[in-house]
């Protein structure tokens, strides 16, 4: 807590406004979140509501909470206060009274959420309730028509149901938090009686860590790629010394631990996390294990990039980031060797470096305890990302067989489908604005709620592009947002996923916007380029297309001819 006071916030570029509403004493949470955000380079601003003031804050549209206008609000409730005197007498009332009590309580929550959504366009995280281990019904708890535990379970299910129909609402599973650490540790009667503290003080940092699972993706600090060492990381022993049959993988206790670790990695890959290899090894020895070892879970097709050589690991890592085309700050690096880890930490502090222990049975837990891979929504593009990257490897191979870039592009048979935003597309459009850094003219970040509002606004055009070629479908990979005035249109957002950069897709999308504008008798298109540390790839796009700079605005007069790229096909939906 003293650490929070020393932080110099001024050096951070990302800003996040966090509100904490709770029904019990949660001192220390604010400070813990502040420290954790600062470590990630997030400038943290907070509003902490007064003790048990959440009703007033949420129901009064002029409250300090709404005045503060947070990006994310945590609503942290406890079952004792929420159920009031009924917490101790639920088992004494009739089943129909229980049902009507439950309904009343669900309505209370729903009403709070409706008020929140009426006043704010941001995320609300609500906790569910801890199901206490004790039941006054004892061993006949489950024989009851509606047991004590069952009532709270029903309450929790109702909260989950609400979150499914309100897109801005997320549920934090507080009940799981308590079961992970144990109710007897989390709930300390002395702290409860002395200060209404319902999460024991020494567990506040763990609680804050869990809440960071939401803060990381909202601030774009989530990780997208795991780079792995091989020896003593994916298998036990050193393949160059012990040989194909000598490494530990599979049937021994340690061997099973490596298999478990690989299975967890595979499950992340299935959710869209990219995997890559960075290993000092003889290429042939290592690839033989990856391709032929009967107990390998991860195979060649799971790795978007493979660097197996005797080069400097930092060089390799940089190459991986460049070839996959993602920022170093999106990478987690796993290695068992202290020197390698120090080397990466020293060279690239933005990479999250995990030094594995010499106990392989811990690896799976170490991986699962990272809360850096969370996303606010999962789209079809995420689920297919693994396949898309192996298609990408095939494209690269094709690129090498053809020497002329135009021939290469023609041979790709690119098809660009322009689509207007719709309910189905909003999550992906928002996601692309949140995470696209390189080919992005303005780097404006929009939550789903923002995209929804703009989609419904007739003077704003929100669209996206689905790009496919002969190797496969890249999915929705481009987004534009145009603010339309009678005489001129302003490009608010124009971005392209790094996966499809350098194929003329950007020109195809922009020329369609121009054609559309011309049809509507618009005289000029205006655009802005807001430079960041990462969007250099988009720097010359406007001038190369034919925009001219006046003051800080790029302008394209629509009486000029509009060039259309010839090597690709454009469809409009």
């Amino acid at each position: 807590m003293t650490e929070a006071k020393k932080i110099d916030d001024l050096k951070f570029d990302k800003k996040l406004k966090v509100a904490i509403l709770s029904s019990f004493t949660l001192n220390g949470l604010d400070e813990s979140l502040h420290v954790k955000c600062s470590k990630l380079g997030i400038k943290y601003h907070s509003h902490v509501s007064g003790y048990d003031q959440y009703n007033q804050e949420l129901l009064n549209s002029k409250s300090d909470l709404y005045e503060f206008s947070p990006d994310i609000t945590f609503l942290i409730l406890d079952i004792r206060k929420f159920f009031g005197e009924y917490f101790f007498k639920l088992h004494t009332i009739s089943d129909s009274e229980k049902e009507s009590f439950l309904k009343e309580k669900v309505d209370v929550i729903e009403n709070l959420i409706i008020n929140f959504e009426r006043n704010l366009n941001s995320k609300l995280v609500i906790t569910n309730f801890n199901i206490p281990y004790y039941s006054p019904n004892g061993i006949i708890e489950t024989k009851m028509e509606l047991g004590f535990h069952e009532i709270i379970e029903k309450m929790n299910r109702a909260i989950i149901k609400i979150s499914k129909t309100h897109s801005s609402v997320y549920v934090y599973d507080f009940n799981l938090f308590v079961s992970k650490y144990g109710e007897k540790n989390i709930f300390d009667y002395r702290q409860f009686h002395m200060g209404d503290i319902q999460i024991a003080l020494n567990f506040i940092p763990y609680f804050a860590n869990d809440l960071m699972s939401f803060i990381k993706p909202i601030s774009g600090k989530n990780k997208k790629c795991i780079v792995l060492d091989l020896d003593n990381t994916l298998w036990g022993g050193i393949v160059g010394e012990e040989g194909f049959d000598g490494i530990e993988l599979g049937h021994t206790p340690n061997g099973k631990a490596f298999v478990e670790f690989q299975k967890e990695l595979l499950s992340l890959w299935n959710q869209g996390i990219i995997l890559a290899i960075n290993s000092k090894n003889n290429f042939d020895d290592a690839m033989k294990v990856i391709e032929e070892h009967p107990d390998m879970i991860l195979r060649k097709k799971h790795f978007a990039n493979i660097q197996i050589n005797w080069n400097d690991k930092a060089e390799n890592l940089k190459k991986i980031a460049e070839e996959i085309n993602i920022g170093l700050d999106s990478i987690v690096f796993f290695d068992d060797d202290k020197v390698n880890c120090e080397r990466i930490k020293f060279e690239f502090s933005e990479v999250l470096t995990i030094e594995l222990t010499d106990e392989p049975s811990e690896f799976a837990s170490i991986l699962k305890d990272l809360n850096d891979f969370n996303v606010l929504q999962r789209t079809n593009e995420d689920r297919k990302r693994g396949e898309m990257y192996s298609e990408q490897r095939e494209r690269k191979k094709f690129e090498k067989t053809i020497s002329n870039l135009d021939d290469f592009l023609k041979g790709l048979e690119i098809n660009v489908k322009i689509k207007k935003s719709s309910n189905f597309l909003i999550p992906r459009i928002s996601q692309l604005t949140m995470k696209t850094n390189q080919f992005n003219l303005t780097t404006k970040r929009y939550q789903e709620e923002d995209i929804e509002n703009m989609t419904n606004n007739p003077s704003i055009s929100v669209g996206c592009a689905e790009v496919s070629d002969k190797f496969g479908n890249n999915g929705i990979t481009g987004v534009y947002i145009v603010k339309k005035d009678e005489k001129f249109w302003m490009i608010d957002t124009f971005l392209l996923s790094c996966r499809i950069m350098g194929r003329g897709v950007e020109n195809a999308i922009l020329s369609q916007i121009l054609l559309d504008a011309k049809k509507n008798n618009v005289e000029e298109i205006r655009a802005e380029f807001i430079p960041t540390q990462k969007n250099k790839p988009a720097e010359n796009f406007l001038s190369e297309f034919g925009f001219e700079k006046q003051n800080n605005i790029w302008i394209y007069k629509l009486n000029n001819e509009i060039k259309l790229p010839k090597h690709l096909k454009v469809e409009i939906e």
Binding site: M1, R190, H193, M194, G195
Partner: protein, 76 residues
């Protein structure tokens, strides 16, 4: 061992250890409010591997009281 109390008090209330003595109390340490008082309890319990009763905690008026109660838990 019991003299570690000064160091822990200094850490919790973010003041120099030299300013802590047996007469230190919420009266003369500004950051010693009821919440930080509970943080202090937590730190002392973790450090000395003991558990105070609520009566002991609410009885504490200054550092001398803390030392007295620690002695009851065989910390010397």
């Amino acid at each position: 061992m019991i003299d570690d109390v000064y160091q822990i008090v200094a850490k919790v209330f973010a003041i120099p250890e030299s300013e802590v003595n047996d007469q230190s109390s919420p009266e003369n340490i500004e950051s010693w409010d009821s919440f930080n008082g509970l943080v202090l309890v937590d730190e002392l319990e973790n450090h000395f591997k003991i558990k105070f009763t609520i009566s002991e905690i609410t009885d504490v008026k200054n550092v001398a009281d803390i030392k007295r109660h620690l002695k009851n838990h065989d910390v010397s």
